[in-house]
């Protein structure tokens, strides 16, 4: 505990623990029962919310917990999605396989690119992740034999559990929910662990952490790879849900939308990231068709408004580093 600078966080945690657990259980019960009383379309939308919530949670591990503002996290989400889709088509769609492949490829992509990005800090980190994310997007666009190019990867079979394909929106939803809960729990445990304390220490005062003997770049690299793996899992869930991957799922817009979700939700709070993702997905899906395809215009206005009106959301992520 000595590594954590602020004493505010622990007391807040203690205060919340009393009823927080019951709220979490109630939310979980409602989520689990949702397909029983929701229309199939609403169930599908809720599945999408969970997919992007897991993505946002993995991004929040970087942005909120460690103070690494990535603008290219969709690279790992997309890598995981393409890998899960490819393996479902060409090898097997049997339940844990696409998931594990998505996680592995997401983590691998993060491991290959992370050793460049984590060496930098602040605005340079933003820029490098942005450039890498965009370059991965271009690879998805040009490597047609594997990714289907601009048409995307189509004809992905439904996930199979014990040989049975999950044909129904409700079953798919439960699959997504189960994996989401596991992924969320993993990130939650990591954020609560001594490792997570070290990450928050790096966010708040990296030179001090280094002086204390922590190899900060190793910690940052580890969390970058972990976040890439979780994003890859979210990508494989996207495949299970929409059975299609396109270059739009790897692109810069998704990265920035999810960053917006994390910032709206209050960076560092995993629940907040989920709520932010829900807001962004619902707003985009609900407003997109009614606005004649000018959704990005609204989102741009939201970005500007959030920066000016919600400074506490974004503040404190990056203390002065130079």
């Amino acid at each position: 505990m000595t590594a954590v600078e602020s004493s505010v966080v622990p007391t807040e945690v203690v205060r919340r623990r009393g009823y927080g657990r019951w709220v979490a259980i109630a939310v979980l019960v409602v989520l689990a029962a949702a397909p029983l009383f929701l229309a199939p379309f609403a169930t599908t939308t809720l599945s999408r919310v969970l997919v992007f919530a897991l993505f946002a949670v993995s991004l929040d591990l970087l942005v909120g917990v460690t103070g690494l503002p990535s603008l290219g996290h969709a690279a790992y989400f997309g890598s995981g999605a393409y890998a899960a889709g490819w393996v479902s088509i060409h090898v097997t769609a049997e339940a844990p396989v696409p998931l594990l492949v998505g996680a592995g490829v997401g983590a691998l992509a993060a491991a290959l690119t992370g050793w460049i990005t984590v060496r930098s800090a602040g605005v340079f980190f933003l820029m490098l992740t942005l450039a890498i994310g965009e370059l991965v997007g271009q690879v998805a666009n040009t490597w047609e034999s594997v990714t289907g190019g601009a048409n995307g990867l189509t004809g992905i079979p439904a996930v199979r559990v014990a040989g049975e394909p999950l044909a129904n929106a409700g079953f798919t939803y439960w699959y997504v929910l189960l994996v989401f809960v596991l992924g969320f729990a993993l990130v939650w445990v990591v954020a609560r662990s001594p490792f997570g304390d070290a990450l928050r220490g790096i966010r708040d005062n990296e030179p001090r952490m280094r002086a204390l003997g922590y190899s900060t770049s190793l910690y940052k690299y580890a969390v970058f790879v972990l976040a890439g793996g979780v994003a890859g899992v979210a990508g494989s869930l996207l495949v299970a849900q929409q059975r299609l991957v396109s270059t739009a799922d790897v692109g810069f817009l998704i990265s920035s939308l999810m960053l917006l979700a994390v910032v709206i939700g209050g960076a560092g709070s995993l629940w907040g990231a989920c709520l932010g993702a829900a807001l962004v997905v619902v707003v985009r899906d609900a407003l997109g068709p009614t606005l004649d395809g000018h959704g990005p215009l609204v989102l741009g206005v939201v970005f500007v408004a959030v920066v000016y009106l919600l400074p506490r959301g974004a503040a404190g992520l990056l203390r002065r580093r130079s």
Binding site: S120, A121, V123, L126, M127, G300, F303, P311, A315, R321
Partner: protein, 285 residues
């Protein structure tokens, strides 16, 4: 091959005109202007709509420069309240502006790709060392080289340039000398934005104008800045010429994997020199 190399120079000089403003604003004020690509696209659309005659071409250049000037001053004013806040805030703000600008451009110019014509007399080809080469691209090389030289001389040889370099090196010290930071920032932002829109008009006949082009050129400019080192005019020039060559020759040699080659170059430079080839400020600590 010679044609590819010449193309590499044409694209390299275009990238320099685009990237130098990004690099200076970034190096001086730590503002990552993600709307920089949208400025290029504005110029490209103006060029595609107006060019085709000399009057139209020059008119497009003038309008684009005016638009860049207004946009640069506006962006400088908008990012001013965020000076004390995190880099992420500035990035999110300029990202929002970029999204809005790109949508407005689609509303005004439609979402079909437009192609821009070179001005009359320049739409033919000439023979260069035995190869047939488009005249217009040769002109881009010349204009780019002249602009690069001009920017370099202004920054390297004049008092104004000395001020700019001093601000890159040590912002606080310049402020202590009683020089208004906001004025320097606004001026550099305006000049950088004008260069970006002008690059858009010049690049129109090469890239055309289409939705999504803003992101593509923004990434190329960012890679140029990373490779060259932030805040350095020489770095922007060398970085742009290197990326120009990689982007064209790489595309010819390895059509499927040009992006990998680009990333490889980026990785190589960052491993050998984390601050970029001509970087003045430490990046990693």
């Amino acid at each position: 091959m010679l044609v590819s190399i010449l193309n590499g120079f044409a694209i390299g000089f275009l990238l320099f005109i685009l990237a130098v403003g990004l690099s200076l604003v970034f190096g001086m004020m730590d503002v990552l202007n993600l709307a920089h690509g949208a400025l290029f696209l504005l110029g490209a659309y103006l060029g595609a709509t107006l060019a085709g005659s000399w009057g139209g071409f020059l008119g497009a250049l003038g309008l684009a420069a005016l638009g860049g000037l207004v946009a640069g001053v506006l962006l400088s004013l908008m990012t001013e309240p965020l000076r004390k806040r995190s880099h992420l805030d500035q990035a999110l703000l300029t990202l929002g502006v970029a999204l809005i600008a790109a949508e407005l451009l689609i509303i005004v110019f439609g979402d079909d790709p437009l192609s821009a014509a070179a001005p009359p007399g320049l739409d033919g080809s000439v023979s260069v060392l035995g190869a047939v080469y488009p005249t217009y691209r040769l002109l881009i090389i010349v204009i780019g080289a002249v602009l690069a030289l001009a920017v370099y001389l202004v920054v390297d040889r004049t008092r104004v340039g000395a001020l700019v370099r001093a601000t890159v090196a040590d912002r606080e010290m310049v402020a202590t000398l009683g020089i208004d930071n906001r004025l320097v920032k606004g001026a550099v932002f305006a000049v950088g934005s004008v260069l970006a829109t002008v690059a858009g008009v010049l690049g129109g006949p090469i890239y055309g104008a289409r939705p999504g082009l803003d992101a593509t050129v923004l990434i190329l400019a960012l890679v140029v800045v990373v490779i060259g080192g932030l805040g350095s005019v020489r770095g922007a020039l060398v970085g742009a010429l290197v990326i120009g060559q990689i982007d064209t020759v790489g595309r010819v040699l390895l059509p499927d994997f040009a992006s990998f080659v680009l990333f490889g170059a980026l990785a190589l430079v960052l491993v050998l020199r984390p601050q970029g080839l001509f970087g003045t400020r430490a990046v990693a600590r």
